[in-house]
Amino acid sequence: MRKGIVPLAVFIVLVVFLGIGLTLKPRELPSPLIDKPLPAFSLPQLSEPQKALSARDMLGKVWMLNVWASWCVACRIEHPVLVELSRTDPSILIYGLNYKDKRDDALKWLARGGNPYRASLSDTQGLVGIDLGVYGVPETFIIDKQGVIRHKQIGPITPEVLQDTILPLMRKLGA
């Protein structure tokens, strides 16, 4: 009887570890930028390239920075959710970071699917994306009044994520 206990214990430990391994999501990495100030940037706006928008312009506001691109497939799932949000609750500030995209393609994409963004910033080289640690579009950052990143959503915002995580957080921060 006692002989069987050790292999059984090893087996159980193994099953527990494998079980934990199965529930991990290796695509969703914890961002080191959480609770850090938004990296400084100044980028031309997509609709009016002569106008720039910088990180400092946004101080004092609770806002959402959504990284998107016309070539991004998962963005198609997310886009209607954001369009709907911009219609039902205009007090939520949604800004876009148009990541490594062609301006014409991006404008066409917004014309077709609707534009939920107060403004989109053109990051054609993807350099601001690198500073933000973007590795899989779409990604969304929630930034507080002090300009600190409070949350990062990796992958598309679903209605559930929006209602359960993002909106409660933004309301708590004072949006």
Binding site: P26, L29, P30, P32, I130, D131, Y135, G136
Partner: protein, 157 residues
Amino acid sequence: MRKYFLWLVLCCAALNMGRLAAQEAPTLAKDPALEARMMGIAQELRCLVCQNETIAASQADLAVDLREQIREKLQQGETPAEIRKFMVDRYGEFVLYKPRLSSRTLLLWGGPFVLLLVGLGVLWRTVRQQPPEPEAPMTAQDEEHARELLGIAKERE
């Protein structure tokens, strides 16, 4: 040997300067020494798009961009350690294929040694638990029996 190497480096640098003067900024990718240094750093960094590939090996768009970043930073005179910090600041410890020793990675670094110790412990116990059993000396009866059996075996041959 070292002197020779230094001359070689100086010559390369001089050649490059000539090139810079002759034509407009050649792309750095064409500088093999820089390319080699860049690849050396990129080989220790994980690509976040295809997570089992290094930034050196990956064809993902992001990896191409990050290789360019490393090139630019090397050209600006940043050290490999500074470049690694740049990556960790943005993508987290996960980008390092060789994680730094910290309280969070202690199990990762120490785990194999703990397992080795456990293995040695088990080995030690197993070896100690089986002392060679002293064989009882053969009695006269046993010897008689053995001889009998051998005799039978001989007869059968």
